[in-house]
């Protein structure tokens, strides 16, 4: 009884973590299933068919590749634009700062369905054809805010004296940026890019509104849900999950190694937290 009281909080914490992973386990287990009928909802028979023939169902791989393509393009553009905005916010004085902040904050506080609907309203009124371009426009739009927030946090966390030291040591403004500022902000930019990619890759609602006939991976899943999701989708989702988890764990490990000599054990810093926070919005 005493033991239980002492460890109650820990037990609850672990149970919550387990709860978070139940659906993941279901997805993974069902990727080895040979379903009875169309719907891959309950266990029937072990099979590696989906894993040995990942693209065996038409449309699965093409939509998967399309989502990766859109993710990369949207991330590259949004990261560039968002990083520039973050630099402007932290390093430059300008008029309309509060309006700017509001405009960056709002996309994160707007339900996706409203963003998707309003963009669609714009494209319809402009008679702009829906497709890959409109989806890209939408993805870049909602990624920018997350990039700004992440990179801004990194920039603000930087000791301004480090750049002053560079100036003092004969680095002209370009050299300060190239040899000091940029390398120091780069981890934040990379984090923001990873986050942006995962947001784009997993986005359904906004894409669905603006896709026209374009089929991304989530749109494919949505369509398949009505008539039965192929097992291959589970296998691909498992791969994505494991790859993303590895990237994050490796990142954590690297930053742990870097700071190992210091007394404090690394905790996810604020900037990582911001991205992590935003990531869960996908």
């Amino acid at each position: 009884m005493h033991w239980l009281r002492k460890n109650l909080l820990g037990i609850i914490a672990i149970l919550v973590l387990v709860y978070l992973f139940i659906p993941i386990a279901v997805i993974m287990v069902l990727s080895f299933n040979k379903p009875q009928g169309k719907f891959n909802l309950s266990w029937n028979q072990f099979s590696t068919d989906a894993w040995t023939n990942l693209c065996g169902v038409p449309g699965v791989c093409s939509s998967f590749v399309k989502s990766i393509e859109i993710g990369i393009i949207a991330t590259l553009i949004a990261t560039a634009l968002g990083t520039m905005v973050a630099f402007a916010l932290v390093r430059y004085r300008f008029k309309g700062r509060s309006t700017t902040n509001l405009l960056i904050f709002m996309p994160m506080a707007t339900p996706e369905v409203v963003m998707g609907a309003s963009l669609l309203a714009l494209f319809l009124n402009l008679r702009f054809p829906l497709g890959e371009v409109t989806v890209l426009i939408a993805h870049i739009m909602f990624i920018i805010s997350f990039v700004v927030v992440t990179v801004k946090a990194r920039l603000q966390g930087m000791d301004p004296r480090i750049e002053e030291a560079a100036r003092d040591l004969y680095a002209d403004p370009r050299a300060v940026f190239r040899y000091v500022t940029f390398p120091l902000v780069l981890p934040g930019i990379l984090g923001a890019a990873l986050l942006g990619f995962s947001l784009s890759f997993d986005d359904f609602i906004i894409s669905y509104f603006n896709a026209g006939t374009l089929v991304t991976f989530p749109i494919y899943i949505w369509g398949a849900a009505q008539r039965g999701i192929p097992v291959q989708v589970n296998a691909l989702a498992t791969i994505v999950f494991l790859v993303a988890l590895s990237i994050v764990l490796i990142g954590q490990f690297v930053s742990y190694r870097r700071r190992k000599s210091l007394e404090s054990v690394p905790i996810i810093d604020d900037e990582a937290l911001t991205s992590v926070d935003a990531l869960s919005r996908s």
């Binding site: 480090i162 002053e164 560079a166 100036r167 003092d168 040591l169 000091v180 210091l262």
Partner: protein, 380 residues
């Protein structure tokens, strides 16, 4: 590149009419100062007195509102930070966290387009005794080691002036002592002018050959540490640099080489050349260790011509090397006395009636118009 820092002979640093205003606030007020080539110069003051702003203006990190900065005959006021032959050891070091020690030290050389840096960097790391750490990252070094990297990173450029902004502030007491000696050794070896900003009066006195005490954007007094300590010229300096017993009085006349001051019904003698006062209102000052404490019964032992104050002991603290007394005067002011523990035997106790006395030669006279408390509440 506008400047060629490597080839500069060490030259005097001149500040003329240097002023910095932030809005209505005057951080540095019309500062005129010459820092002799090769000296170890300390700018001492409480936080916010303008010392760091002065340093940043010399470094080029802050634009002066008015005035000029020159090195020898060359006016460097308009040069930007990266064009000046001046380098800084920053507060909390500001080492580049993404570069290893070698690259941190080589940074300035590389920016100036010097290709072959190996030898110079190695020599520099040798000087600061960090040769084995070349490939470590700053975060893997202790505070003292980081401090030495910061010094090496600046010195390798052979700056005309090396600026040190509270360089020892982040270190613990023991390490600070060690680094004080270390920095003096390095300065002796390289001969560069060091300008050191600190709020720690002990640090300034130990390290510098010239100390300038700054207050509210101005320099109150400047000179060799011992000279300033022995003969403070303002109430602020008397209180900020060490402790002082200050008694307000009026000048009543002259007796030989001494000025006669009446205060609280007592008469004090102050040597005229130790008197920095223009008005009749005067403050008589003496350092606590210059006082001798005697039992009231032994008053006859006070040498002829000494200044004396009667009182009652209110506190005794034995600190090993010395004993510190607080003595209440008849007019309610408390005076401090440091007595070296050279005599074994009786010390005064709380409540004892005593007489304090000191030689006029240890007395200093200050202008009394500003009151006797300036600087005392600022002491660190």
């Amino acid at each position: 590149m506008a400047a060629s820092p490597g080839n500069l002979d060490v030259q005097d640093l001149h500040l003329q009419g240097l002023t910095k205003r932030f809005g209505d606030f005057v951080a540095v007020d019309n500062l005129d100062l010459t820092i002799p080539a090769g000296s170890f110069f300390a700018l001492l003051g409480a936080s916010g007195c303008g010392k760091t702003t002065t340093l940043r203006m010399v470094a080029g990190l802050e634009d002066p509102t008015e005035g000029t900065i020159s090195l020898g005959d060359a006016d460097i006021t308009k040069l930007r930070a990266f064009e000046r032959p001046v380098n800084t050891v920053f507060q909390s070091y500001a080492l580049f966290p993404h570069l290893d020690i070698f690259e941190n030290v080589a940074f300035g050389l590389r920016r100036r387009g010097i290709k072959d840096v190996q030898k110079q960097v190695e020599d520099m790391l040798e000087l600061v005794e960090l040769s084995t750490m070349a490939r470590r990252k700053p975060s893997q070094l202790s505070g003292g080691q980081q401090q030495r990297v910061a010094v090496a990173r600046a010195l390798i450029n052979h700056p005309g002036v090396l600026l040190l902004d509270e360089p020892l502030g982040a270190l613990d007491l023991k390490l600070r002592r060690q680094m004080q000696i270390e920095l003096k050794r390095i300065q002796d070896e390289v001969g560069t002018t060091f300008v050191h900003v600190t709020h720690d009066q002990e640090e300034a006195m130990t390290m510098a050959d010239t100390v300038a005490v700054m207050n509210a954007g101005r320099i109150e007094q400047m000179g060799h540490p011992a000279d300033i300590y022995e003969l403070p010229r303002t109430v602020f300096v008397a209180n900020f640099l060490g402790q002082s017993n200050l008694i307000a009085g009026k000048r009543t006349g002259v007796s030989g080489d001494d000025v006669v001051v009446e205060a609280r019904g007592l008469t004090f003698l102050v040597p005229s050349d130790r008197c920095s006062c223009t008005t009749e209102d005067m403050i008589v000052g003496v350092r606590p260790e210059k006082l001798t404490i005697l039992d009231k019964a032994d008053e006859g032992q006070v040498p002829e011509g000494h200044n004396r104050v009667p009182g009652r002991v209110t506190d005794v603290s034995y600190t090993g090397v010395s004993t510190q007394y607080l003595v209440d005067t008849p007019w309610g002011q408390e005076l401090g006395v440091f007595e070296q523990n050279v005599v074994v035997g009786d010390r005064c106790d709380v409540g004892d009636e005593v007489v304090l006395h000191w030689a006029p030669a240890h007395t200093f006279g200050l202008d009394g118009s500003a009151g006797a408390t300036a600087g005392s509440e600022l002491e660190d």
